[in-house]
Symmetry: C2
Subunit: 129 residues, 2 copies
């Protein structure tokens, strides 16, 4: 995650809300975890570790840490809602490519997303420790 040749930000953070996802999918910890890992691997990311938690009575939170950063998920099955954060560093992995795979697999009826640039290089340069 430490490529000095980045352009204007250190990280790209895709903030994604998936609406209208099936309740059973969004409560299926094992499938969600495997789908995220598979998506990361298929775009060439290196999976380092993961941690997931199932809430009672429903809902899942989890994160997959990849060498290029991470993918974080929270689900509200009772609202058919999944929030997904795809955070990548360097230029080798596009967060959109991971979204595209998961969007196709999970088939939300609607999604709302925004790309947030993290670590503005201009500010990094201007704020000397």
């Amino acid at each position: 995650m430490h490529n000095k040749n980045l352009s204007r930000s250190l990280g790209r953070h895709l903030v994604m809300d998936y609406y209208g996802v099936s309740e059973s999918l969004s409560n299926d910890l094992d499938k969600l975890k495997q789908d995220i890992i598979d998506a990361c691997v298929s775009v060439g990311a290196t999976v380092i570790n993961s941690v997931f938690h199932r809430y009672s009575p429903y809902g899942v939170s989890g994160v997959v840490i990849i060498a290029e950063s991470n993918v974080t998920i929270h689900t509200w099955p009772e609202y058919n809602f999944i929030s997904l954060d795809i955070y990548t560093c360097g230029d080798s992995i596009s967060p959109y490519s991971i979204h595209q795979i998961l969007y196709t697999k999970w088939n939300p009826k609607k999604y709302v997303g925004d790309l947030v640039n993290r670590g503005n290089k201009n500010i990094v340069d201007e704020v000397v420790f």
Copy 2:
């Protein structure tokens, strides 16, 4: 994380960039992890699990999963930069209260933050699965 009495969004996600943080702090996995856990506990959050990773030659990524959602960190010690995501569900914990504690402990020279509401209830209601 499953409170049906939320107002207009399911989660509140505080996206925080800390600039001008000491290089040694931002490379100190154990301290970063303990500070986040302590901050969560001190505002009344229930810590469930955590996973952290140290990159080579430097940098840390980690997440602390709390019952009320999670706190995710990525650090670039070589840029004196820390990105922090504080994501809470329900109204019991304010993401700002966790930021305030970590900001005071880590003392960045500058921070840039934005609150992102996740899971808009109007869209949840309108998109029926």
